[in-house]
């Protein structure tokens, strides 16, 4: 059952060293910046972070990487114009990279939440990213066997939660949130707004309450203006 917590710090305080942390977002859209910065404050280190990108600019995931707290990144697109902290750590051999095609990354996270043991995907077949992986031809198409990616913790940014933890997202900021919320032992969500039970139409819920363990409201001028 969900806990509504007061601060981002409290929400992530028990994150253990060496945890696997799933971090929502595609670029800045849907990135749980305040939760990541609280993770920075709580001191957890030697982390494996699963996220589409490897940090933008100097805040959020980029700050976590800069401070040497990330042992390994699992992502599809680390290199961006503003990924300088990742780039520096990578070139210095101080961070491990598991590069996963974006759709396989999403499907592996979804498989973890859905209790699927492994699946055959056509993406990556015949490319260097399938090197060493089991492959199989099914009905004339080549597939690669991929395994689920579970998290100890998921840090997710959503738009709105009700008091039970039912979530809705906003536009393309939805991206990895719903599948990461389902793939972690503990799911921590930052939202712009917490509304009473019954305020979200049951037909419109994107992440049902049972996937959510903690919700914290982060006031945000930017997003309140946009919503």
């Amino acid at each position: 059952m969900v806990s509504i917590v007061e601060t981002a710090t409290e929400a992530v305080a028990d994150t253990a060293d060496a945890a696997t942390v799933l971090v929502s977002g595609f670029g800045s859209a849907g990135q749980p910046v305040e939760l990541i910065e609280a993770l920075l404050d709580c001191g957890a280190t030697d982390l494996t972070v699963v996220s589409n990108n490897a940090g933008n600019g100097d805040s959020g995931l980029a700050a976590l990487i800069r401070q040497g707290r990330v042992r390994k990144m699992v992502c599809s697109f680390p290199r961006q114009s503003d990924s300088w902290h990742f780039d520096a750590k990578y070139r210095a051999g101080e961070i491990e990279l598991e590069l996963v095609p974006q759709g396989n990354l999403a499907e592996r996270i979804r498989a973890a939440g859905a209790g699927i043991g492994a699946f055959f995907t056509p993406t990556g077949f015949g490319t260097p990213l399938a090197d060493g992986k089991e492959t199989r031809e099914i009905d004339g198409v080549g597939y690669v066997l991929e395994y689920p990616i579970h998290g100890d913790v998921a840090l997710v940014s959503a738009h709105r939660s009700d008091e039970l933890g039912n979530l809705v997202y906003r536009k393309t900021a939805r991206n990895f949130g719903p599948i990461m919320a389902a793939a972690a032992t503990t799911t921590v969500v930052q939202v712009h707004e917490i509304v009473p039970v019954g305020s979200i139409d049951p037909e419109h819920v994107i992440t049902p309450s049972l996937y959510v363990d903690r919700v914290v409201r982060i006031a945000s001028d930017r997003v309140e203006a946009a919503s």
Binding site: G27, L99, G126, T127, T172, N175, F176
Partner: protein
């Protein structure tokens, strides 16, 4: 032979746009392919997919339209058209991988005679690799179109017998739109459909791949 011989990038984008049937569902890759949207007629009923989780994407957003929660796969702010829909990443790539999109347009480092595509990594050891959705897009849509200059800046031809760059996908490209010609990748070989400022014989001298002339075939 320099690029000045052929058509410019806007004309190339227009050429691709002209080949997209009305009512198609299309994904335009990052970079040059994005320009194709400028040449799609508003009444064409072409619907754009962006793999970060949207169908019915509109043009780039400007000024007050900019919303940080509404971006395309290149992380550029965009707009929403009536009849759009949003979905999460697993659903978005299921849409792509499941073959539901009609056409995907991508850039390339190299395309082989068999339609193999190399467009995600130079293979240089000092480059940080990044793949994004390239491998999903390459093999997902019903047809994959490539847009590229036929030669790189150093004059190396990018339509090749066999890719030397790391592969993105096998036998996945159906057409290659270049500044000098449009090539159709067919089971029995590469067919030149259109030429831009060169003739068929000049192309055969440039390209180290057997070519067929669509006009005489």
């Amino acid at each position: 032979m320099t690029m000045a011989v052929g058509i410019d990038r806007n004309s190339l984008a227009a050429a691709v746009a002209a080949d997209i049937p009305a009512g198609s569902f299309v994904n335009l890759g990052i970079g040059l392919p994005t320009k194709v949207s400028n040449y799609l007629a508003p009444g064409s009923g072409v619907t754009l997919h962006t793999e970060n989780g949207m169908l019915g994407m509109g043009p780039e957003a400007h000024g007050d339209e900019v919303d940080p929660d509404l971006i395309n796969a290149g992380k550029i702010p965009v707009t929403e058209l009536p009849g759009a829909s949003y979905f999460h990443h697993a659903d978005s790539f299921a849409m792509m991988r499941g073959g539901h999109l009609d056409i995907c347009v991508m850039g390339a480092y190299q395309v082989s005679v068999k339609g193999d595509l190399a467009n995600w990594h130079t293979g240089r050891p000092d480059d940080i690799p990044a793949v994004g959705g390239a491998m999903d897009l390459a093999i997902g849509a019903k047809q994959t179109f490539v847009m590229m200059d036929l030669t790189s800046r150093d004059g190396t031809v990018k339509l090749v017998p066999e890719c030397t760059y790391p592969l993105t996908g096998l036998a996945c490209v159906s057409r290659v739109y270049t500044d000098l010609a449009v090539f159709l990748i067919e089971p029995d070989g590469v067919v030149v459909r259109d030429v831009f400022g060169v003739d068929f014989r000049q192309l055969t001298e440039l390209v180290d791949v057997p070519l067929f002339d669509a006009t005489t075939r």
